[in-house]
């Protein structure tokens, strides 16, 4: 039968033993294998396991709040919703993006581009697809969340600006660019971070940005957050106080709005360079950038002929026109070429180097001294003085007063104007040699002279404070934990002691412009001794304008209007400039300045602030004297 015989048993026993040894050896090998993985290589695998299930997610920090000099909030934070993609949670990115585009109305190609741009980041890190999503978009995405795993919405802090007001002061924020990521001053900032991209936001980005926090969470294999392991709270950026006075700023904006003109204005405290108000028109709405600007708006801002993104106060360069005359007058006094009583007889024009230069007043001013010359803006007087000085001495004093120089305001991308000199001409032109005849035009702020509005504000301040070229600045104080820490004003750019009597002659003239029946009468305020000077700068010579206008009617060739001012005359506490682009006449700028000054003094005196002016209140002069007679070089008033 099948019962085992001893022979069988021996053979079976041997084979069983062999099998037992083989199996035991195999198990031993397995044990060794596990030892290698679990003990010898444990650290490596432990780290891999941690990377599997723990995620460090950044928590964006709110930027520092911006306050005005009186403590009123100018720029604050609000939370917005972003719709983002977590790639590790999604199977088919293309399909998901298509669904998102469908649900939100976003441009699919653009979404794809966004994802493509950040493909090198870890796949668990959310990529923001739609910044500042509308309520409808968030709801649409949430409703279809099961169809598109990996699409999340996040609530993140963002900026809230007061509309277009002071837009160029604040600038705007946006995602850090590839180029910025390479730069050392952005070190430690990750891609996708929101940084200041213009204006104050850019200048003080480091201060305002705060410290990003992060949280460590445990996720499962499909990336779902299970629980939080630890959290580093984000630290809000430093709150700062600007030198801006909200009321002055509003007065500037209201004045421009009423005038209907574009341009720029900068108002300073002439004693320390505090910027009390600053605008550039047309402006943009920084809120449009705060949540990621859409392509169409960006395109529009960039292709607009009026260039709303350009900061005219810092980057616009224009002829100063008659406002330049004080620089020539002061140069004449300080160089000993004239005295305040130096008199010129204006017959409506004069001839220099064989060429006739007209005065704006064809009938002539008759005998004028310095004060009257400034008050009446007599061109012949300054032709004469300028001719006596020569270009280099004009250059010296214009520079000392702040023209043709950067103001070094704490805003990015300031451009420099130009006050010519023989050296400049030798170095920068093909002609090389300066002709004395060229000086005559420069003496009334025409020719090659060009200035930025901010440098004009410095110029007005230097005349107001007697020679100190203050550095305009916007940062007044920082909030440091326990309280406000004032930031000392930056040192002046230069200082020259102008003798008081000589300065007085200039100031008298400027006082007369406003209070003595001069061209700046619109800026007059009872009892405040406002001093000022209007200027009208041709965009193009009269003759050329007639031809050009016939060719293209869409280009604005109307003259620019300037008004620089300070007040009160004897102890000025406010100085500045209003520049109306194509504002036709300097006096129109004076009308805008009046509202600024009236607001300033009302506030100072504790009186109710004047209401925003209407267009009619300004009594603007629209008569366009493009066919002014005489020489094309004829200076404006």
């Amino acid at each position: 039968m099948s019962n085992l015989m001893p022979d069988d048993r021996r053979g079976l026993g041997l084979r069983l033993s062999a099998l037992q040894y083989i199996i035991a050896a195999t198990f031993a090998a397995l044990a060794v294998g596990f030892w290698v993985f679990q003990v010898a290589q444990h650290d490596k695998f432990a780290e891999m396991a941690d990377n599997n299930h723990t995620r460090r997610l950044p928590l964006p920090a709110p930027r520092g709040v911006l306050l005005d000099r009186t403590g009123r909030v100018l720029v604050e934070n609000r939370n917005i919703f972003n719709i983002a993609l977590v790639r590790e949670q999604t199977k088919n990115i293309d399909e998901t993006l298509k669904l998102v585009a469908e649900a939100t109305g976003a441009d699919e190609a653009q979404l794809r581009e966004t994802v493509e741009r950040r493909r090198r980041e870890p796949s668990y890190r959310p990529i923001v697809l739609i910044e500042n999503a509308t309520r409808e978009q968030v709801i649409a995405v949430w409703a279809r969340r099961w169809e598109m795993p990996g699409i999340i919405y996040q609530e993140v802090p963002s900026r809230k600006y007061p509309g277009t007001e002071a837009a160029h002061v604040f600038g705007y924020v946006g995602e850090i660019t590839e180029a910025q990521l390479q730069r050392t001053d952005y070190e430690g900032i990750d891609s996708g971070a929101i940084v200041g991209q213009a204006g104050f936001e850019q200048q003080y980005n480091k201060l305002l940005m705060g410290t990003e926090g992060n949280k460590t969470v445990v996720v499962n294999s499909i990336g779902r957050e299970l629980f939080e392991l630890g959290k580093d709270e984000p630290r809000e950026g430093t709150a700062v106080q600007l030198t801006i006075d909200g009321d002055i700023q509003k007065a500037i904006e209201d004045g421009f709005t009423a005038s209907g003109f574009n341009g720029a204005a900068v108002v300073l405290d002439p004693n320390n360079g505090d910027v009390l108000g600053f605008t550039s028109r047309p402006a943009f709405d920084p809120n449009a950038f705060a949540g990621g600007i859409d392509k169409a708006t960006w395109q529009e801002l960039n292709t607009d002929d009026l260039k709303p993104l350009q900061d005219r106060a810092l980057q616009g360069r224009y002829s100063p026109g008659s406002t330049f005359k004080m620089a020539v007058g002061l140069a004449g006094l300080e160089e000993g070429v004239i005295t305040p009583n130096f008199t010129v007889n204006c017959a409506g024009g004069a001839t220099f180097y064989g060429r006739r230069f007209a005065c704006w007043k064809h009938g002539g001013h008759g005998a004028v001294n310095l004060k009257t010359a400034i008050e009446q803006s007599c061109d012949v007087y300054f032709y004469t003085v300028g001719n006596m000085l020569g270009i280099d001495r004009i250059n010296k004093w214009a520079t000392l007063l702040g023209l043709g120089q950067k103001s070094n305001i704490d805003l990015p991308n300031e451009l420099v104007g130009l006050v010519p000199s023989t050296q400049w001409k030798a170095e920068h032109t093909r002609e090389k040699k300066w002709y004395a005849g060229e000086t005559i035009s420069v003496a009334i702020g025409q020719g090659q002279v060009s200035v930025t509005p901010v440098s004009m504000a410095v110029y007005a301040s230097t005349l107001a404070n007697g020679g100190t070229r203050v550095t305009p600045h916007l940062l007044k104080a920082k909030y440091e934990g326990s309280g406000w820490q004032p930031v000392p004003p930056p040192p002046p750019q230069s200082k020259v002691d102008v003798s008081p009597e000589k300065l007085e002659a200039i100031r008298q003239g400027m006082w007369g412009v406003v209070n003595g029946g001069g061209t700046g009468g619109k800026a007059r305020i009872d009892g405040k001794d406002v001093c000022g000077k209007t200027g009208t700068a041709q965009v193009i010579s009269n003759a050329a304008r007639l031809i050009a206008q016939a060719r293209n009617r869409n280009i604005d060739y109307r003259d620019h209007g300037w008004f620089i001012f300070f007040a009160p005359r004897d102890h000025p506490t406010i100085a500045g400039v209003v520049f109306l682009e194509h504002g036709i006449h300097g006096p129109n700028a004076a009308a805008v300045a009046h509202h600024i000054l009236a607001t300033y003094f009302a506030k100072q005196d504790g009186k109710p602030l004047p209401p925003p002016p209407t267009h009619d209140d300004l009594h603007l002069e629209y008569k366009d004297p493009y066919a002014r007679g005489g020489s094309p070089e004829g200076g404006g008033n």
């Binding site: 099948s2 199996i23 198990f27 030892w35 679990q38 695998f45 396991a49 996720v219 294999s221």
Partner: protein, 369 residues
């Protein structure tokens, strides 16, 4: 049929080890399927209850297989084999399909997986066939007949498709043939043939996904989020366990589902992760004990049928354990081969326990006539 004195010959040590392994299996399933809700409280996954019901049935099956004299069973082995084949055919025709394979017969709330019982059926008929003839497995024609008995269910199972389970029939055949005196030279030739046939099988015999599994096993980084994923995750799971493990219910790989269906084929990885190298040694030791102890039962068997039956069952068992454990560490291509006694799955557990019922049966009846 069951004499009282037999009770004293039951190998309690082996039975204890088998039950202990099943218990550890349930504990690991409990740990890895535990559901933690958002509010912090949680509950074990439904798989735990299923496994416990299955364990009860498995113990019942073990008792049945223990009580009925194995020779009586062997006498009816042809009928049992036929029944097995009928079931396997039925599965192919009417079985329920899950994850692309048709493997189950729904019976009320349960899903019977007949393929898991294939090893028992084959072991039974082969033990009978080789045990009853005097020549054992020395004769090639007998080997061929034995081979046919193996290949029929093998092909039926492979057709489901469930190549993993199908392949486990081979060690049963080889184990019995080996004990029945298979010439070792022939074994060598078979091995040689295997090596020669492999490239052809690679080209024609395997499906795309099977080829890919082997390829990605050899180089898992080739497709770390796709086919190589399980292999990589298995290694991470095991390696991150360290010497003493992350602790019960503290495994991250299994709990957070980085290792897919960990409670099933990768239950040993869960053990390695949570109990560490120490736990691995303990469980490996238990399995080794069970296998060696079972082989002792074969040695003690009164007749060849008993010895071959034990040898066949334990060969299949040992193959499964070794392959599954190797795969658990990401050292073998991922195949649907469960870890007997521990893996989640009723049929697998019941079949394994029934197998040990038979092994205990043989040992218990070593003195009977």
């Amino acid at each position: 049929m069951f004499e009282r004195r037999l009770f004293f010959h039951v190998d309690w040590l082996l039975l204890g080890a088998v039950l202990l392994l099943s218990g550890i299996g349930v504990a690991m399933i409990y740990s890895t399927t535990y559901v933690t809700l958002a509010n912090g409280v949680g509950h074990p996954g439904p798989q735990v209850w299923t496994q416990l019901y299955a364990a009860a049935l498995a113990i019942l099956a073990l008792i049945v297989c223990l009580v009925i004299d194995y020779r009586l069973l062997a006498e009816h082995s042809l009928m049992l084999f036929a029944a097995l084949c009928v079931l396997l055919v039925f599965v192919l025709l009417k079985g329920s399909t899950q994850m692309g394979a048709q493997r189950w017969i729904p019976i009320g709330p349960f899903h019977l997986q007949p393929s898991e019982f294939g090893r028992l059926g084959v072991a039974m008929i082969l033990a009978m066939y080789f045990g009853e003839n005097r020549r054992g497995a020395r004769n090639t024609s007998d080997l061929v007949i034995g081979g046919v008995f193996t290949v029929i269910p093998l092909l039926l199972i492979a057709k489901q498709p469930d190549l993993g389970t199908a392949v486990t029939l081979l060690p049963v055949f080889l184990g019995i043939a080996y004990l029945a005196g298979l010439r070792l030279r022939l074994l060598g030739i078979l091995a040689l043939c295997g090596v020669l046939v492999a490239p052809i099988a690679w080209k024609f015999g395997l499906k795309d996904y099977q080829r890919q599994r082997i390829q990605t096993f050899l180089d898992p980084q080739q497709d770390p989020r796709g086919a190589g994923y399980q292999t990589i995750q298995a290694r991470i799971t095991v390696g991150s366990g360290g010497l003493t493990g992350k602790g019960f219910r503290h495994g991250t790989q299994g709990q957070y589902k980085f290792l897919p269906v960990a409670h099933n084929d990768f239950i040993f990885s869960v053990l390695a992760e949570e109990q560490g190298f120490v736990g691995v040694l303990v469980v490996l030791g238990l399995y080794l004990f069970v296998i060696l102890r079972s082989l002792e039962a074969a040695r003690l068997a009164k007749d060849r049928i008993g010895a071959y039956l034990v040898g066949g069952i334990i060969s299949g068992f040992a193959f499964q354990v070794i392959y599954n454990v190797t795969m658990s560490a990401g050292l073998a291509p991922v195949k649907g081969i469960t870890l007997p006694l521990m893996s989640y799955g009723g049929s697998s557990l019941i079949a394994a326990m029934a197998g040990f019922g038979l092994i205990l049966n043989v040992r218990m009846r070593r003195f009977t006539n």
